[in-house]
Symmetry: C3
Subunit: 348 residues, 3 copies
């Protein structure tokens, strides 16, 4: 048995140039996590991590894991295998927030059984999943409600493309039967969090039978330069109403001025470890999300984000983002707010 | 000073054959704990452990401890010394849930002063206790309410009965003055948790002056075979109404197919440590609980549970339970639901 | 990277001689903390600590820290530099609760940027701060609310006064613009917590534009004897109403019967480490707090507290306090309750 403790702080501050919706200057703990991970015996390993930021309690990875066959089996709450941006750790994402389409469409963490296996340049991840910790449980008057059940798969291909280069191609699909939890709501903030309001919002969509999600990923890296793009679509199957489909994409590029490169392992990007006295990175992203389809008018969000990151060490990072948001048919109609945000981050 | 970290995950899934009350298929984190324990100096040791399962926050053992005379003194929140099943760690109980009578009648954790001492084959545990962490505190409009105060004692006798055998005989009593917290409610789930509903329920019993609880325990173990039985009764003394008495019992037997035996120490059973590549255990239990007496019709629950456990190592266990419940005068009258449940567990 | 775990339990019990307001006998976990601290790399260190007492979740110190110039820079949530009593750790305070004027007036922990530097016998601490974790954040209907912003400074002078003696002189000031969070409320318990009710209370004061706080500290120590005094005033600037000023002070003395002295470092007192088999300390305090000014009649509190502390080791302490409170114009008018309280404490 060997156990290590884990911790993380992401502290954000933002100031806004509001348009229609007033957005107040604010500082907020985005993440504060305490956890443990390690080996339980020769075969089994584990992790338990909780986020207590802003005095909430929210489970992150909570699992039991072992090698099985040529791959790895995980039982517990982990991320559903869909989306390069979602699957990249919040410690390693290039901008302060993930692209809006990724936030909205990818399922993040759910309880289930996950299996991952690599064969040469191919990685296959699959998961049978149900609800996430803390919600959608049969109880009290709803004791007869069956939990949602989904199945997801992600295939990543990383063909050899020459020294110090990486080509990542991925496709994922996730099909979920909503069981007796048939109300869903999709909404998001403008890729910045301290003022806590979502400007696009479908409102509650009742009578959802199932969802079918689909994702395409591509990334290319050459030393300190990287570019990634991702498309995600969500077909929402409703019982007494026509289906609706929401989708979106992002494309981003980053360059590490000091020459280091983004890490990559297990189908996802990892952080940057400065070689010497610290690493500097510049980055830009365009993201688009569409939550309007048929009778649902949730709005559209098109954001341009510019980022500057300083890596003091592999555990400490400072980030600056400018977000130019363009909202159409949002909670307050059309608007174009701008945000300037800073993050102080450490993780171990 | 030496400190160790502690952790635990119990992840359950269940499917039901409902009868009257609808019970939905569900998966839930039964326990997710993070904690620390260790030595503060040559004399004093401590533990702090919290449960964050399903994003709640619930204190478990939180105490300061030292040797005193021939025994051990503990100050803080620990289990009231009553009931073999209750006092057996959730990591080591034979079935996924404790017997219903134990859940309902034993007080579990309370804040207080606990003293335990062993003399030859006798173990005596006693505790002066008040409320549990997180409830029953004088505040606001109830600032004048005195907290409950109780006193409990448990005597365990383990006469020598031959090599590789164990005979455990126990008796316990707990008397509690409810102070100004006079409303109590007794209720329980059908010995399985993912669908979170209690089928027997007294509703709120007002005007409770005091309770007097009484327990009898017996267990016999011979190598991999063990049998245990427990009876617990609770006399509820009411101010303006006649007293009521609720009681129940369970009897269970288990056999470790691979030959290992249940651990035993300090008056309680401990877990099973597999000798080689894993241990298999089969078990059966009958439990009965009666929450109906006088004017209170809380219902009766009689359950048969069959269990199969696999111990991958001393830290990792998988459990399967089938529960045949028989409810009389429950929240929805008489019904006989059946549940099939699985647990993945680790602890350290 | 090197990480240490941190923990703390303060368990209190109190019995009251109530006067007008009924105060029930009670036991409560005053603090139960779990945390981590350590070094992230050669430059940066950190701390994350949360309090889960009574099953709440409340952030304490959560920060990233490094040396900068001749001083120390801290980013995150720490204590605003104002008030000797507030800045003394709860593990090291002489009485079970801080003086009421300190509780009410000093800001305790806020998110911000803190810088401290020592030059010879002078220590200067400064902080630019905003809200505390868990409150006062723009969100939902209040998304346009700007967070409060304050700036504080504290200057401590410790002139050389001879061997085994200490003279501490301090002055602090804190100015805070309340942004769009303009409602404040000042209130306090009678320097004892188990029965959770505040006997003096201004009620909500609307239209607060800003506050200006001012503090004076003095302490003298000669071996096992120490005396400290502190005055704190709070000028509350209101938009459509006249300003109000609340103030208060405390004076306390303590003597360690076994000869040890209180630790002192970084402008604050630290705990007592017994030399041999444990240390005994006697102490007395008089505190006065005035929450009535102009149209606001929050009440006045004048308390005498007598204390006896036993330090079993540097990590374990037991405390006994008798508090003679004298309330004028409180929530239930004038009253003179008395409390007797005990604490069992460990920390590491």
């Amino acid at each position: 048995k060997s156990v290590e403790v884990r911790g993380r702080m992401h502290l954000d501050t933002a100031t806004y140039d509001s348009d229609v919706t007033e957005l107040g200057n604010a500082t907020a703990l985005r993440r504060t996590r305490l956890g443990m991970s390690g080996k339980l015996d020769d075969t089994w390993s584990f992790q338990i991590e909780y986020d207590f930021a802003e005095n909430g309690t929210s489970a992150n990875d909570v699992y039991l894991r072992r090698p099985l066959g040529e791959g790895t089996l995980t039982i517990g709450q982990v991320k559903v295998p869909m989306g390069l941006n979602e699957l990249t750790s919040s410690n390693a994402i290039t901008f302060m927030e993930r692209a809006s389409n990724s936030n909205i469409t990818a399922d993040s963490r759910r309880i289930g059984i996950h299996y991952a296996q690599s064969i040469d340049n191919l990685l296959f991840q699959s998961m049978l999943y149900t609800r996430g910790i803390g919600g959608e449980r049969p109880s009290g008057a709803n004791s007869g409600s069956d939990a949602p059940m989904g199945i997801a798969g992600r295939l990543v291909f990383t063909p050899s493309v020459g020294e110090n280069q990486l080509l990542h191609l991925g496709v994922s699909v996730a099909a979920e039967d909503r069981g007796d939890f048939n109300a869903l709501r999709y909404r998001d903030r403008p890729e910045v969090r301290p003022a806590d309001i979502r400007l696009i919002d479908t409102g509650t969509i009742a009578d959802v039978d199932s969802t079918l999600k689909f994702g395409l990923e591509a990334a290319y890296q050459s030393g300190p330069f990287s570019i990634e793009a991702e498309y995600l679509a969500n077909n929402v199957n409703r019982d007494g109403n026509p289906d609706v489909t929401f989708d979106g994409f992002h494309i981003q590029t980053s360059y590490v001025l000091t020459g280091e490169k983004r890490g990559y392992r297990g189908g996802n990007f990892r952080g940057i470890s400065p070689n010497g006295k610290g690493a500097w990175e510049v980055a830009a992203r365009y993201s688009q999300t569409n939550l309007s389809d048929g009778l649902i008018v949730g709005g559209e969000q098109s954001n341009i984000t510019l980022g500057l990151n300083y890596y003091a060490s592999s555990n400490v990072r400072f980030m600056a983002n400018v977000i130019f948001a363009d909202i159409k048919d949002g909670i307050n109609g059309d608007e174009k707010p701008t945000a300037f945000a800073l993050r102080a981050q450490f993780a171990f």
